[in-house]
Symmetry: C2
Subunit: 201 residues, 2 copies
DNA sequence: TAAATTAGCGCACACTTGTAAGCTGAGTTG
DNA sequence: CAACTCAGCTTACAAGTGTGCGCTAATTTA
């Protein structure tokens, strides 16, 4: 194994270790450098060979989480093309993501309202990407003006994220119920937006 | 001054000290017993004369914050009766509350997705109160079935809280813009809910 | 007024934290 | 193969943490 390869692998170990520590009881600010190092199987001081400090690791984790989200959207779009309805497909995809990547979604949720301004901003940017792409999609699909599409996308993403937070700590049965609820709410928003602003500007 | 009165006053000092430490960079899990004691002007060990541990203090703070929210709602209802529109009045009242009680709202927001299951549950309960009371109000005002009213109230509260989070760290000008946006979104929801479920069951 | 209660304090202890300094040994390069 | 690089290690330190123990002094009770 190369020196570069070895270093990259250790870096991945650190990232993986950090994610695994971010369970339901810990946030980025609550995990320590020593803990991450312990979990990754290296000495505390070796951490500095890979990251300047914990903040740099944290921002890396937020980036990775954002990337995972964008990949999710692509997957959702593929599924929509093969039928099933936009809202149904999108919500189902999102809920599956949450179930399968709990700690990734938790990271975004927690740091979105967390204690670090830098993390808050980073998460905010990722979510804004999410909103912008949805707004573009809505503009393509519906006869609606720009601002309405923006507001509609914004509301939808907020509802999905907020319900996702609830679903995260629920059992599958309740999760199903939450999914149905948010689907109905998204239809409210969609219909309301169409009714209030019918024409493109 | 009585012994009881003195003790009560110290207790209030502790609570006030804790709230003052919960600025934009700290959550309940990030403030230490010693810090609170220092800010309250007592010895660390004297803290135990008033609270079993920091968790007990935390739950007390959540309760106080919930109480403040409920008082807010009463104030909003009073304002609605003197005209101005439900949505406009409610959002304006909410935004004023956020501006004037930043740390109180921050506490709820942060602990809602925070690292303590007990705090999450406590905040969830407070928000559910909020939703239930709004659902009752909607049922009174609109010709709509029970479930739709519930979903509508749920969506509205989620949107307002989510936008509140954004407004919390924004300057007044941006805050105005956020207020307008959420008002439009609430109208989307209201109109959509009415259109999809017209009759009471 | 004597006895009991108790809010608050000082001291002490065992831990965990971030990180500075310097060493080792394996991989890379000329 | 000799020189160099550098990922990872051990050791060490100062700072901060929660909390047990026992004392003081003032209020409350009998």
């Amino acid at each position: 194994m190369n020196r570069q390869e070895q270093k990259l692998k250790t870096r991945q170990n650190i990232i993986h270790a950090a994610f695994s520590l971010l369970d339901e009881n810990r946030s980025l600010s609550a995990i320590s450098l020593r803990e991450v190092a312990r979990e990754a199987g290296i000495a505390p001081t070796s951490f500095y060979r890979h990251f300047k400090d914990m903040d740099e690791l944290g921002l890396t984790l937020v980036d990775e989480a954002g990337l995972a989200l964008r990949q999710l959207m692509r997957q959702a779009r593929r599924r929509i093309e093969s039928g099933g309805g936009v809202i149904n497909t999108s919500v189902d995809t999102f809920m599956e993501f949450i179930s399968g990547n709990k700690n990734v979604f938790r990271l975004l949720l927690r740091e979105h309202t967390g204690t670090s301004a830098a993390y808050r901003l980073a998460v905010h940017r990722e979510i804004q990407h999410f909103i912008d792409e949805l707004a573009d999609y809505i503009l393509e699909q519906q006869d609606i003006d720009h601002k309405s599409a923006e507001f509609q996308a914004d509301a939808m993403v907020r509802l999905v994220f907020s319900s996702g937070a609830e679903a995260l700590e629920s059992d599958p049965k309740l999760r199903k119920h939450i999914g149905d609820k948010v689907k109905a709410q998204l239809r409210f928003v969609q219909l309301g937006a169409r009714a209030l602003f019918k024409h493109k500007s």
